[in-house]
């Protein structure tokens, strides 16, 4: 029902814009804006959803976490800000669920101050309610944010305590059991950076994964995903790209652990509006070009 209404509204609107463009009339950009807004809103309200299957590049991250022996040490770095959060926060939450479900040890940190604040939200909304047994300092800990971008990584890859004498709550690292056998990030079994700007996954590969020869996975905002492909599969074991990557990971997680089925899986929900918006953008490009070629033809004739 919702799908039909959406198709009628969107299709009608597109035809109208096509008609105007062919007539050579200028469509105000505000109409374009309104149209995009309506499309996305309709798809959200009607909860259009489509199924997802994990592609190899996502599957390999999932399998890595799945196959590490329990108690492995995994770093999850929050390197993003609220502006990228809709895309990458679902990844972070899916990673937290998967890692703790597999009883790995989880070390949080961030190279962006904003990541630290968003991590607080994740801890309260996902980690604490869903894994009440996870103990701070034993199963997970929060190293917090440090300024200095890749400089931070340059130090922690050889010496963690030099950069982080204490965690975000002021506890000395030596007082936390999970740091007993950790000297530097080289002692980790997997590094995961979730980001989309600079510093982000690329800096992690350059300054931590490569020099430390530690397995490295990434989750990145769609914008920077294509440029991370050259690092896959050698320098990055896998990569989650944008909402699509997050949705694939969520789908894989639900498939393997059905108990997460009723938890909020925002990326899967976002793929519906996403699809509709893509269609509209493609239609805009086509319409724009039709108008362009028509006007060019006219120009040649006259």
């Amino acid at each position: 029902m919702g799908l039909i209404i959406s198709i009628i509204v969107i299709g009608g609107g597109l035809l109208w814009i096509l008609y105007l463009s062919i007539k050579g009339r200028d469509v105000d950009r505000r109409i374009v804006y309104l149209f995009v807004g309506t499309t996305v809103a309709l798809a959200i309200i009607f909860r259009l959803e489509f199924g997802e299957v994990a592609t190899p590049i996502v599957k390999s991250v999932f399998d890595k976490i799945e196959n590490l022996p329990a108690g492995s040490k995994i770093v999850l770095s929050y390197d993003f800000d609220p502006a990228m959060a809709p895309e990458v926060n679902p990844m972070a939450n899916a990673f937290i669920r998967h890692i703790l479900e597999k009883k790995h040890r989880l070390y949080f940190m961030s190279l962006w101050a904003t990541g630290q604040s968003l991590l607080s939200v994740s801890l309260d909304s996902v980690l604490k309610p869903e894994f009440p047994d996870a103990k701070y300092g034993v199963d997970y800990c929060n190293l917090g944010f440090k300024a200095g971008n890749e400089g931070v990584l340059n130090v922690v890859i050889t010496n963690l305590r030099k950069m982080f004498p204490s965690d975000a709550n002021g506890n000395s690292l030596d007082s936390l059991p999970m740091f007993k056998d950790v000297e530097s990030l080289k002692d980790m079994d997997l590094l995961i950076s979730i980001g989309g700007g600079k510093p982000g996954v690329k800096e992690w590969v350059l300054f931590a994964g490569d020099p430390g020869k530690v397995a490295m996975a990434g989750g990145s905002a769609a914008v920077s995903t294509p440029l991370l492909y050259p690092y896959w599969p050698k320098q990055l074991i896998g990569l989650l790209g944008g909402t699509k990557g997050a949705a694939e990971y969520e789908a894989e997680l639900i498939k393997r652990y059905p108990r997460f089925k009723d938890k909020s899986m925002p990326a899967l929900r976002m793929m519906g509006p996403q699809t509709m918006a893509h269609v509209v953008i493609i239609a805009f490009i086509v319409i724009g070009n039709i108008a362009y070629f028509r006007s060019r033809k006219k120009g040649e004739q006259s």
């Binding site: 010496n159 600079k198 294509p226």
Partner: protein
């Protein structure tokens, strides 16, 4: 297919042996067996300084205990102990690590002076390895003394060093060539040539030129490259007596830009026409900055917008506003994700490396041109290497060349 059969066979035989072992194990006497006997100690402990480190590491190796995975199969893990004297009492042997069964080596490493297990440099150290079973421990296998010392060169970094030196030699060579006046050819780049043209156009229209350095800091390579171009543009602008607007996103970038533009005006012989507030700081926040620059574009309608430097999401916003204002737009960045928008909406775009080259192009200074040439030669080396190694692979048919850089073969 053959392999699968083989694997199946192995699995089957393994299961069979397991079953037999299990059978014998469940025989009545085993049930009440006395406390497990301690496993045999590991053998042949060898100590070595940990290579490629800064002198606080020892590599301990040993042969597996006969009871590890075989024999009585009782070993669960190995404990590694360290002491400063072979005759030290047990309490002074410090447990520096534990590894699971089947492991034959351990790197004992501790750099921090305050750490309880700190490993001192150039000091005699003794080690013991103990095989640990369920509640039982083998007699220790000892070795020593050994000293940790710092290495003066990390041999794992050989390829970097080679390339560094090659690059350095090439750079110095070409700089010298350029200094001696030998003409170094570089092909024309449309985006660069457009800059001069654009300044002329601005003069004719009587409108200003907008120069955006991006949102990077003064330490970003793209910003530094853009500084050099800014200097040239400022000089040209002063010569043509046009005006320019340089809104900055970073306070440090702003002050440097101010001095560069000032110098540019002075070089053109018109220091008096330089207006300090033509280079100004807006805010260091990305979107407020873009909003402000967009406002400027719509109000002033500059003849030319030049966007060179580090750009993120604002590329599209700036470029589209520029299209609306009808300005000629020249852009360049090393941020690949932003290049498509510049390519689509701007008249000329410098792609990645071309931005770095821009400063050499504009200045034609021997020093900059020299490094550009060195870059080209390294690219040529890569191309030749790729073709040569491909040929080698085709001729020999071997896979040896796929990892020329990966394995530490040196």
């Amino acid at each position: 297919m053959k392999h699968i059969k083989l694997i199946l066979f192995i699995c089957l035989s393994l299961c069979l042996t397991q079953a037999i072992v299990a059978q014998t194990a469940t025989d009545p006497p085993a049930e009440t067996a006395p406390a497990v006997q301690p496993p045999a100690p590991p053998g042949n402990v060898i100590l070595k300084d940990l290579p490629n480190d800064e002198g606080h590491g020892i590599l301990v190796r040993w042969d597996l205990s006969p009871d590890d995975g075989a024999g009585r199969n009782t070993v669960i893990s190995y404990d590694i102990y360290r002491a400063l004297s072979p005759s030290a009492p047990d309490s002074l042997w410090m447990n520096v690590g534990t590894v699971v069964l089947g492991t034959k080596r351990y790197s004992d490493k501790s750099v921090e002076k305050d750490a309880p297990d700190f490993l001192p440099k150039k000091t005699d150290l003794y080690y013991r390895v103990v095989a640990v079973g369920a509640g039982v421990r083998s007699t220790p296998a000892s070795a020593g003394p050994v000293q940790a010392y710092d290495n003066w060169f990390n041999s794992m970094k050989m390829p970097e060093l080679i390339f560094c030196i090659v690059f350095l030699i090439l750079t110095v060579r070409f700089i010298n060539m350029a200094k001696r006046g030998i003409d170094l050819y570089v092909r024309p780049l449309a985006g660069i040539e457009a800059i001069d043209e654009a300044i002329g156009r601005a003069t004719e229209m009587g409108k200003p030129i907008l120069y955006v350095l991006g949102i990077g800091t003064a330490g970003d390579i793209a910003t530094i490259a853009s500084f050099t171009v800014l200097g040239r543009v400022a000089r040209k602008v002063a010569e043509y007596q046009t005006s320019m607007i340089v809104p900055c996103c970073d306070p440090v970038v702003m002050t440097i830009a101010q001095e560069i533009v000032k110098t540019g005006y002075a070089d053109a012989g018109r220091p008096d026409t330089f207006k300090e507030d033509s280079v100004y700081y807006v805010t260091s926040q990305q979107f407020p900055y873009v909003a402000a620059v967009n406002g400027t574009i719509l109000r002033e309608k500059p003849a030319t917008n030049i966007y060179l430097g580090y750009f993120a999401a604002e590329s599209l916003l700036l470029a589209e506003t520029g299209v609306l204002a009808g300005s000629i737009q020249i852009a360049g960045t090393d941020q690949v994700s932003q290049l498509p928008f510049f390519v689509v909406a701007c008249d000329y775009t410098l792609l990645g490396e071309e931005l770095y080259a821009a400063s050499a192009y504009l200045g034609r200074e021997p020093l900059l041109l020299g490094t550009l040439k060195a870059q080209d030669y390294l690219k040529a080396i890569v191309l030749v290497l790729m073709v040569a190694l491909l040929a080698l692979r085709v001729i020999t048919g071997a896979d040896v060349i796929s990892k020329p850089f990966d394995a530490p073969w040196w």
